[in-house]
Point group: C2
Chain length 202, copies 2
């Protein structure tokens, strides 16, 4: 049954486990792809251009903004991030489901612009646990951690307008919940009616 | 985290496999109960009063309707069926999830009356397959089958306003989908925000 690709948008404060969750879920659904964002941020060790991000300069990013090439873009922690509009449209029309791992500002832009998207917010079980996780991540310095914790409080307020909230306390339970959201969304009546209309004359 | 019980309403044409699906799903979720309907229908072989249905006479049913004791009631294939309003309210306030296996007329009444309910329609893969399944069920006579097939066409049109549609082609896939809908609905932001507000001051 031919259907449009579904857009899944996942946001979370740093340290909630969003990236690991996304990687896990991509392996489960063969029709699901991770949307690769454009960013002006410097690549971290091990990050690959075209796989983790498209790393571009400030000028190229500005050109893309001006040309309307982004479905959404935002400044996060001093760096620019954006999602290609062409990729979104192509995946939707080809029936490929896309998972976007983006911040709340970008998610808000998409919500206003695209119908039928699914918005998922991943929460840590508590602010204390978030701090513990960020402390254990060797990649961030003390002041980066402090900034992330302060940002988290504001970001978590945004959870209100998302469709789903996954509290990532137990990782395998969080995977099960995210997986269930994806399967359930494939069963949403409004996504299926067109395909079923021919079979049942409805 | 204290939360309200969720109301799951499942409808389907006879032979779509709704009853078997409901039985399977009850075994998976310890917090989920099957709502026992009241009916004026004669018990079938093996049916137990209080487990499968509350079997009541026409007069008692009419008294309950007049007293406003039903959350919904409807006439289906010449028999009356109804759901106790008191049971629905009690389960909701005690945080018990309830699955209601009722027809489209009853489901419509609930949709207009209760917020936050989840409406699921189970479809057979085709009308041909529905006929084959009804033929294989020894319990129904030829004319009952014919009536059920004719009713099915009308009932299937109602699928439009349900939240989810599960096409019961492969049974274990249908169980997986129904299970996913239940897990996903537990993650809906509007159900969780009140409980999370205290943890995160949102």
């Amino acid at each position: 049954m031919k259907r449009e690709g579904v857009l899944y948008v996942i946001s979370a404060p740093s340290g909630a486990g969003k990236t690991t969750l996304c990687k896990e879920i991509i392996d489960i659904f063969p029709n699901l792809r991770h949307s690769v964002s454009y960013t002006t941020r410097t690549p971290r060790q091990g990050e690959v251009h075209g796989r983790d991000y498209f790393f571009v300069g400030q000028e190229e990013f500005s050109r893309m903004v001006a040309a309307g090439e982004f479905a959404e873009w935002a400044e996060v922690h001093g760096n620019l991030y954006g999602t290609s509009l062409a990729t979104l449209k192509e995946c939707r029309s080809r029936g490929i489901d896309l998972i976007l791992d983006i911040d709340c500002q970008g998610a808000r832009q998409l919500k206003g612009r695209f119908e039928g998207g699914v918005y998922i917010f991943v929460l840590p079980p508590s602010i204390g646990e978030l701090r513990r996780r960020l402390d254990n991540r060797s990649s961030d310095s003390e002041d980066v951690i402090e900034r992330r914790i302060n940002n988290a409080a504001g970001e978590i307020k945004e959870a209100r307008w998302y469709d789903y909230i996954i509290v990532n306390d137990n990782f395998s339970e969080a995977v099960e919940q995210l997986k269930s959201v994806l399967i359930a969304e494939q069963c949403r009546a409004f996504r299926l009616l067109q395909g079923l209309a021919a079979t049942f004359q409805i």
